[in-house]
C-alpha cells in the first residue's frame, strides 16, 4: 500500500506550483486567467474566478484540498489514516467558529449554513441541527454532545466564565492543535524524523505567532499567554515558551529564540513577517521530505502542506486582483521576491 501511496504522492507532486507559475498568473489578463488556472491544474478555481465572492473562493480551495486528501487516505489505515483525516478537521473547527460567531450576532440559520465550508465525506457535524440552535449556550451544549466534545468542553467553560469570543476561538484552536500534536507523537515511532521535520515548524510557528499576538497585540498576561499555547516537544518546548512569554517586547522574544530559529527569522520585525518566514521554512522542510525517501504518510502530509500553501497564494493573487492591487503590491503581500530576482 505504501508503494501505491508513494506513487500517488509523486504524481500529485507534479501539481505543485513553481515560482514561475505564480509570476505567470500574476501577469496574465483577466481573459486569460481561467485558461492559466486550468493549465496549472486548478479547474475548480477557474470557474467563476472573477466573482468577488471570497467565501466561494475559499470554499472551492478547501474543496480541492479535501478532494486530494480523500484520494491520499484511501490506501491508509489505522493511526496514519486518522492523522490525515484529523488534519482536514481544522476546516470543520473553522466551521464551528463560524457557527459560534453567527449565533453571537443572531444570524439566520440559512445564511449561516451558506457561509460554512462544505466538508463532503469528511463532515462530522450535523450543521443543519447546529445552525438552528437558539443561542451560543445551546450551540455549545449541542457541540459538546458531538464529535468535538473534547475540544469544545473546555472552550464552553472558558466562554461561560469570560463571555469573551476571542478566548472561545483561542480555546478551540488550542484544543485542535494539541490534538494534532498528540496524534503526531503517537506516530513518531513509525514515521520518525520526517514527521518531526513537518510537525516541528508547524507547531513552532503556531506557538510563536500566537505568543506574539496574544502578548503584544492583545496584551494578555504572560501566564495566560503560556496557557493558550500548544504543549509540544519541538524547538520551542514548554520551558522555553514560559521564558519567551515573560519577555516584554517582540524584539526581546525574537532575540531569545533558539539560534537556528533566530537565524531563520533574521530581519523579521513584525508578526506577519515572522509568520511568512516561518511558513517558508516549514515549506522548505516539507519540500525536502517530499523529495526524500520518507515514509509514505510523511510524503503525503508534506504534499498537503505544500499544496495548501500554493492554493492560499493563488487565493491571495485572485483577491488582490479583485481589489485592483498592482502585481508588485500583491507580490509584497505574499512575501514573494520581485520578479526576476533570485
Amino acid at each position: 500500500m505504501s508503494a501505491y501511496l508513494n506513487t500517488r504522492v509523486s504524481l500529485f507532486a507534479g501539481r505543485l506550483w513553481r515560482r514561475g507559475d505564480f509570476d505567470a498568473v500574476l501577469g496574465v489578463s483577466d481573459a486569460e486567467m481561467p485558461d492559466a488556472l486550468v493549465e496549472r491544474g486548478l479547474p475548480l478555481l477557474a470557474v467563476g474566478f472573477d466573482r468577488r465572492d471570497h467565501r466561494s473562493l475559499e470554499q472551492r480551495i478547501i474543496a480541492q484540498v479535501l478532494d486530494e486528501t480523500r484520494i491520499l487516505i484511501r490506501p491508509l489505515s489505522g493511526a496514519a489514516r486518522d492523522f490525515l483525516i484529523y488534519w482536514t478537521e481544522r476546516f470543520e473547527v473553522s466551521n464551528v467558529k463560524t457557527l459560534l460567531r453567527g449565533k453571537m450576532t443572531g444570524e439566520r440559520p440559512a445564511a449561516l449554513i451558506n457561509r460554512l465550508t462544505p466538508m463532503g465525506t469528511f463532515g462530522r457535524l450535523d450543521v443543519q441541527d447546529l445552525a438552528h440552535a437558539e443561542d451560543v449556550g445551546e450551540l455549545l451544549r449541542r457541540l459538546e454532545a458531538g464529535p468535538y466534545a473534547g475540544i469544545v468542553r473546555q472552550a464552553r467553560r472558558a466562554f461561560e466564565e469570560s463571555q469573551d469570543p476571542f478566548l472561545l476561538d483561542a480555546a478551540l484552536d488550542r484544543g485542535y492543535y494539541e490534538g494534532l500534536a498528540h496524534r503526531a507523537q503517537s506516530l513518531e515511532s513509525e514515521a520518525g524524523a520526517p514527521l518531526r521535520r513537518l510537525m516541528g515548524p508547524l507547531i513552532d510557528r503556531i506557538n510563536l505567532v500566537w505568543l506574539l499576538r496574544y502578548r503584544f497585540n492583545y496584551h494578555l498576561p504572560p501566564a495566560q499567554v503560556y496557557f493558550l499555547l500548544v504543549a509540544s516537544n519541538y524547538s520551542l518546548p514548554s520551558s522555553r515558551l514560559r521564558e519567551l512569554a515573560a519577555l516584554g517586547s517582540v524584539e526581546a522574544v525574537l532575540e531569545a529564540l533558539p539560534a537556528k530559529l533566530r537565524d531563520s527569522l533574521e530581519g523579521a520585525t513584525d508578526i506577519p513577517a515572522v509568520f511568512a518566514r516561518m511558513e517558508a521554512f516549514a515549506a522548505a522542510q516539507a519540500t525536502q521530505v517530499l523529495r526524500a525517501r520518507a515514509p509514505a504518510l510523511c510524503r503525503a502530509f508534506a504534499y498537503l502542506i505544500l499544496r495548501e500553501r500554493d492554493l492560499r497564494s493563488v487565493r491571495a493573487i485572485l483577491r488582490g486582483r479583485h481589489l485592483g492591487l498592482a502585481p508588485a503590491d500583491i507580490r509584497a503581500a505574499m512575501y514573494l521576491p520581485a520578479e526576476g530576482s533570485a
Binding site: 437558539e134 468542553r153 473546555q154 501566564a223 495566560q224 503560556y226 514560559r242
Partner: protein, 628 residues
C-alpha cells in the same frame, strides 16, 4: 407492473399568495413529484424565504416536542389551510420565545445538578481538609498575604495550569479526582490575584464556594451543607414544577404549531426542487401520473375555482433519464422489490424485472436446494420470524415452499434419497441430465434477457442498438444460431448448416455495427471491432455455462448429505443422531446461504447486467403526514 406508470410533466401557475395552499393540495393529492421545469421568464426563487422560515419553525417545534414528550403525529383536518410566510414568521417569533423559556428551565436544571455535584465535592473537601488538620479560617482569610482558591478543573489541564501559574508565583495542589475533574487548592501572592483569575477562567476552573461556616467550625459546616443541599433540592423540585407548568401552559400552543408546520411542509419540500415565480405569480412544476390528470384538475378547480393554470406535457423519448419512475406492485410482490432496488431502479420506460425476478429467483433457489425436509424447516423458520423480518419473511416462506416442491421432484428429504421416489429425476443418479437441463434453462434465460434488452433500447429511442448491438436482436440471432450449431455438433439436432449460417449473419451484423459506432482511427476501429465482436461470443458462451452451477449445487446438496451420513454411520446411536442433526443444521445454514447468494448472483450478473440499467430516479411524491 412491467414498466413505470406513464407520467406527464405539469406546470401549475398560481398566485404567489396561494402557493402554500397549492403545494398542500398537491400533497393531499398524493402523486405529485416536484421537479424543476419552470419557464425562464419565471426565474425568482419565490419559496426560498418560506422554506427558510419553515426550517426554523420545524427545528424549534421538534425540540419542543422532544422536551414535552409528544409522540403522536398531529391530526390534520381535511379543510385545513397552509400557513403563509407571514404566519410562519409570527409562529417563529412565538416558538422562539417559548423555546427560550424551555431552554432557560433546562439550563437552570443543569445548573442545579452541577450545584449538587459541587456540594458533594465540598463535603468531600471538608472531610479531607479535616483530616489534614488545616486551619481553613486562616487559609482563606481575605486579608491574608496568600490568595487561596479551592475548586475544580479538567484533569487534562492540571499540568499546563500548574506550569502557567508558576509564572505568577502560585502553586497548585490537587487533592481529589472525580470523572474528568480534578479538585485542587491554588495559592499565590495576593497582588497577582487578577492575573491568576484570568488564567483560571480560561482553564475551565470552577470555584468551590466555601461558606464562612466551613471556615470556622466543622460541625457548623456540616449543618450548613445539609441546609444548602435541602435548599438546592427544593429549587430542583421547583424547577421540575416550572417545567410541568410549562408543558401544561404551552402544550396546546405547541400542538397548534406542529399542525401548522405539518401544513407548511409541502411547500418547504417542493422548494428544494425549486418553486419559481415572478412578482405575484408562482409556478409549481413536477410529475403526475397521466391517468390522474383529470382528478388533479378537479381537485384544483374545487380548491381554487379557476384561479390557476395547469399546463401538461408528455415527456419525449430522449427525456427518459429525467423522468422519475412510479411503479406499483401487488402486495404479494412487495417483498422482492428491495432485492431489485438494491441493484437499481428501473429507468422511466424501461422493463421492470421485479416479477420475472421473483419467479426466477425462487425457481433457481428451489432447483439448487431441493429438499422436502430442509425446505419445510426454512418455511417454518421464516414464518416463525415473521414479526422480526416483516414482509421479507415471505421470501423465506416462498423459498422454503419451492425447495419442498423440488424436493418432491428430486425425491429428497433431509438428504435421504431413498425414502421416496423422485417424481422427476434424482440429481445424484442423473447428473448429466441435470447439467443439460441447467444449460437449457440458461439458454432460455439469456434469450429472454436479450429480448428484454432489445425492447428497452427500442423504447428509449436507441433503435440501431436494439437491432444490431451485441445485446440486441443481432446478438440474439448469433446466440440462437450458435446454440443450434453446438446442439447439432452434440447430436441433439440436425440443423448444423442453417444454425451456423444464422450465427454468422448475427455476428457479422454486430461487427458492422461496432465498426460504424466506433469513432476512431482505422487501426483503432479495427481493433475495437475485433475485440468487442470476439467478446460478444465469449461472454454469451461463458454466461450460458454459468448456469451449470444450478446443477452443480443440486448435486452438492446431495453430496453434503452423503458426507454427513458417512460420518454419522461410523458413530453409535447417540452420536449418529447428533451428527445427523448438526449436519442438517450446517447444510441449511451454510449451503442454504450460499445457494441464496448464488441465485441472486445469477439474477444480477447473468440477467440484470444484460438488460437492466437500474439508473431510474425515484418518484418521491409530496405527502401530508397525519392527514385524515
Amino acid at each position: 407492473m412491467f414498466r413505470a406508470e406513464p407520467l406527464v410533466r405539469i406546470r401549475l401557475l398560481i398566485l404567489a399568495s396561494e402557493t402554500p395552499d397549492a403545494a398542500l393540495e398537491l400533497a393531499r393529492f398524493g402523486v405529485f413529484s416536484p421537479a424543476q421545469y419552470a419557464p425562464e421568464a419565471l426565474a425568482e426563487s419565490s419559496a426560498e424565504a418560506y422554506r427558510e422560515a419553515w426550517l426554523e419553525a420545524e427545528s424549534r417545534v421538534s425540540k419542543l416536542v422532544e422536551r414535552c414528550g409528544m409522540t403522536d403525529p398531529p391530526d390534520i383536518p381535511p379543510g385545513a389551510a397552509a400557513p403563509t410566510l407571514e404566519d410562519l414568521n409570527e409562529l417563529n417569533a412565538w416558538l422562539k420565545a417559548v423555546w427560550k423559556t424551555c431552554l432557560s428551565c433546562h439550563e437552570s436544571e443543569a445548573r442545579i445538578q452541577e450545584e449538587l455535584h459541587h456540594l458533594d465535592a465540598l463535603e468531600e473537601t471538608l472531610s479531607k481538609l479535616e483530616r489534614l488538620n488545616v486551619d481553613l479560617a486562616q487559609l482563606l482569610r481575605p486579608d491574608g498575604l496568600l490568595d487561596v482558591h479551592i475548586g475544580s478543573l479538567p484533569v487534562g489541564s492540571v499540568k499546563r495550569v500548574g506550569e502557567a501559574l508558576s509564572m505568577t508565583g502560585s502553586l497548585v495542589s490537587t487533592f481529589d479526582h472525580t470523572g474528568d475533574q480534578a479538585y485542587a487548592v491554588i495559592a499565590g501572592p495576593r497582588e497577582r490575584r487578577e492575573e491568576v483569575r484570568g488564567l483560571l477562567s480560561q482553564a475551565g476552573w470552577r470555584e468551590l464556594p466555601v461558606p464562612r461556616e466551613l471556615r470556622t467550625h466543622p460541625q457548623a459546616a456540616r449543618a450548613w451543607l445539609t441546609e444548602e443541599r435541602k435548599r438546592v433540592e427544593a429549587r430542583y423540585s421547583a424547577g421540575c414544577a416550572v417545567m410541568d407548568a410549562f408543558r401544561g401552559q404551552y402544550r396546546s400552543g405547541i400542538e397548534e404549531a406542529r399542525l401548522r408546520v405539518a401544513l407548511g411542509r409541502p411547500l418547504a419540500e417542493a422548494a428544494v426542487a425549486g418553486v419559481r415565480g415572478r412578482g405575484s405569480l408562482a409556478v409549481l412544476t413536477g410529475w403526475v401520473p397521466k391517468r390522474q390528470i383529470r382528478a388533479l384538475k378537479a381537485a384544483l378547480e374545487d380548491r381554487f375555482h379557476g384561479r390557476y393554470w395547469l399546463d401538461t406535457e408528455e415527456p419525449g423519448p430522449h427525456e427518459a433519464d429525467q423522468v422519475p419512475s412510479l411503479v406499483r406492485y401487488p402486495r404479494w410482490l412487495m417483498p422482492f422489490v428491495p432485492l431489485v432496488k438494491s441493484y437499481g431502479l428501473p429507468r422511466y420506460g424501461e422493463f421492470d424485472p421485479t416479477l420475472p425476478f421473483a419467479f426466477t429467483y425462487l425457481l433457481l433457489f428451489g432447483a439448487m436446494f431441493g429438499d422436502i425436509g430442509h425446505g419445510a424447516l426454512i418455511l417454518v423458520l421464516a414464518a416463525a420470524l415473521y414479526r422480526k423480518l416483516g414482509a421479507m419473511a415471505w421470501i423465506g416462506i416462498a423459498a422454503g415452499a419451492v425447495s419442498m416442491l423440488f424436493g418432491v421432484l428430486y425425491g429428497s428429504i433431509f438428504g435421504y434419497e431413498d425414502l421416496i421416489e423422485p417424481v422427476w429425476l434424482s440429481p445424484l443418479h442423473n447428473p448429466i441430465q441435470m447439467l443439460v437441463v441447467a444449460i437449457a434453462f440458461g439458454v432460455g434465460f439469456i434469450t429472454l434477457t436479450l429480448l428484454v434488452n432489445a425492447y428497452n433500447r427500442f423504447v428509449a429511442g436507441r433503435r440501431a442498438e436494439a437491432l444490431f448491438d451485441s445485446a440486441g436482436l443481432a446478438g440474439l440471432v448469433f446466440y440462437l444460431g450458435a446454440v443450434g450449431g453446438v446442439a447439432s455438433l452434440a447430436g441433439a439436432a440436425e440443423q448444423a448448416l442453417p444454425a451456423w449460417g444464422l450465427a454468422l449473419a448475427g455476428i457479422a451484423a454486430v461487427a458492422v455495427f461496432k465498426w460504424v459506432e466506433t469513432p476512431a482511427s482505422l487501426g483503432e476501429r479495427a481493433l475495437v471491432t475485433a475485440i468487442e465482436t470476439l467478446e460478444t461470443g465469449i461472454n454469451l458462451f461463458a454466461n450460458t455455462l454459468s448456469f451449470m452451477r444450478v446443477a452443480a449445487f443440486s448435486l452438492n446438496h446431495v453430496a453434503l448429505a452423503l458426507a454427513v451420513f458417512t460420518i454419522a454411520n461410523g458413530l453409535d446411536t447417540a452420536g449418529h443422531w447428533i451428527t445427523i442433526f448438526l449436519g442438517n443444521a450446517v447444510i441449511i445454514v451454510l449451503e442454504g446461504g450460499i445457494v441464496a447468494i448464488q441465485a441472486l448472483r445469477l439474477m444480477y450478473y447473468e440477467g440484470f447486467s444484460r438488460f437492466f440499467s437500474g439508473s431510474g430516479r425515484a418518484f418521491v411524491p409530496l405527502k401530508l403526514a397525519g392527514a385524515k
